[in-house]
């Protein structure tokens, strides 16, 4: 059979962000793949060196259009460690609350994208409608739907009244009902399973060698979650499950993400119940003492790592950002080997591409 080269990207209906794949296809069979990154490289690491810490928070928030809050959280956590300040515990709770809301939003968005890519428009609409509930909550709490700009070095910028807390708990109950419907679809719906089972399989050994993080790793049996394994307040005081599956295919990733969404709703509820009183921020100096720090958090897609080095001025000397998508992208060539052309969309959705994150 003749070989043809099918370009996927930089612009293609399958991709939501520019990245390029060159697939060598025989009939309907993909034999080889090559990937090209860098279409949305904005040089954020370099820009960080030329802005103050205050400005950097807003810059780093724009690395990702989905998990923006977790980036600023990681950055602030690192800078606060350099400064040696201890945050009021209410601030930590509110920060984590928004992180968990963001996880729900990210996973629902991802489910919608997967559904769209396998031609399941209804689930796409449902998932994105439920995500809209989360976005509305976040907009009300922080002022922005995606870019919240609530983190400051030394705390957060928003507070929660008691009335709002009660309505929020009610909204979360409704949300859980909706998420459970979607979870049921993932568990039982026949055509969705037909498309996602046994596709893009990664073994535990591959996962470990490729240093894969997040739901992709957990779907292959790697039991790792920084919220649990590096317990920091407030997560050390909360109870939650880390869903792990052994199958390692796209279906397992879907299930893991949906189960995580349910867990996140539980976490939000716990945090609202345990929300301690007190101030939401402390005053800190604009200059950060010289030093270096590695800050890690569990983003919706996995571990986010920031390396921050300060030279004592109000601008960082180096900010290194490692986003989870970059690690997961490395696995794509081995996942794309010997798959059906129709499964390419499933495989690419399965790793939860966030090219803006990977390119920075």
């Amino acid at each position: 059979m003749t070989k043809i080269i099918v370009p996927i990207g930089p612009q293609h209906p399958l991709l939501k962000e520019p990245v390029s794949f060159q697939l060598t296809v025989e009939g309907e069979h993909v034999t080889e793949s090559a990937m090209r990154l860098g279409y949305v490289h904005r040089g954020i690491e370099r820009l960080c060196q030329e802005r103050t810490y205050v400005q950097n928070i807003h810059l780093l928030e724009r690395i990702c259009g989905i998990c923006s809050h977790v980036h600023t959280t990681t950055f602030c956590q690192g800078v606060e460690a350099l400064l040696g300040v201890k945050l009021p515990s209410r601030a930590l709770y509110l920060r984590a609350l928004l992180c968990e809301l963001e996880r729900i939003h990210s996973h629902l968005l991802w489910l919608g994208v997967l559904a769209l890519n396998i031609g399941f428009d209804t689930i796409f609409m449902y998932a994105w409608h439920d995500r809209e509930v989360v976005l509305d909550i976040m907009e009300d709490l922080s002022g922005g739907r995606v870019s919240h700009a609530v983190n400051i070095v030394g705390g957060v910028r928003f507070d929660l009244t008691d009335d709002r807390r009660v309505t929020l708990l009610r909204q979360l109950n409704g949300l859980e009902e909706q998420v459970r419907i979607l979870l049921g679809v993932v568990e039982h719906e026949q055509t969705l399973q037909a498309r996602t089972r046994n596709v893009g399989r990664l073994s535990l050994e591959q996962i470990r060698r490729y240093c894969v993080v997040g739901p992709v790793a957990r779907a292959s049996g790697l039991d790792v979650d920084l919220r649990r394994d590096m317990p920091r307040p407030p997560y050390d005081g909360l109870t939650f499950q880390v869903p792990v599956r052994q199958e390692g295919d796209v279906w397992a990733r879907t299930l893991v993400r949906m189960l995580e969404t349910v867990e996140s709703v539980h976490l939000c509820r716990q945090m609202l119940d345990l929300l301690p009183p007190g101030p939401v921020s402390t005053r800190v100096s604009r200059r950060v003492p010289a030093g270096e720090v590695v800050s890690r958090t569990e983003a919706p897609r996995g571990e986010v790592v920031y390396y921050i080095r300060s030279d004592g001025s109000d601008k960082p000397a180096r900010v290194k950002v490692r986003t989870p998508t970059l690690t997961n992208l490395i696995t794509l060539p081995s996942q794309l080997e010997n798959v059906n052309m129709a499964d390419v969309s499933v495989v690419l959705s399965g790793v939860d591409l966030c090219i803006a994150c990977a390119d920075r």
């Binding site: 907009e139 400051i152 910028r157």
Partner: protein, 131 residues
Amino acid sequence: MGFSLRSIVYLLPQVWRVLRAGPLTVQFPFAPPELQEGYRGQVVVDAARCRGCSLCVRDCPAFALELEREGREEYRLIYHPDRCAYCGQCELSCQFGAIRLSNTFTRATADRDTLTRVLVDRRPSPPPLDE
């Protein structure tokens, strides 16, 4: 693989439920957008409170604010909405509560030149307002 009649038509009951509940979306350009109370929109300024300290200009991450200073008390605070990221940092940086992001939705415009706005004008002879 669990194969049952229910798994073949799993979504049917849900689809009927949604059908009965009616549409959930709004027709945006024809209907107003749904805004939350905490929404951070248009930048407004209380000119009387502004002291021209330029703290907001220093902290603005998008370089959307500009202070043209002609003397100690003579200055203009200029705002470029085309650069603004609506992050609200200026609101936080302002020590006098002069600048605020209001709960108003700002629509997109095709005309960039009309965007630049003078928020505070403290020049010796400000031009007449009716012009």
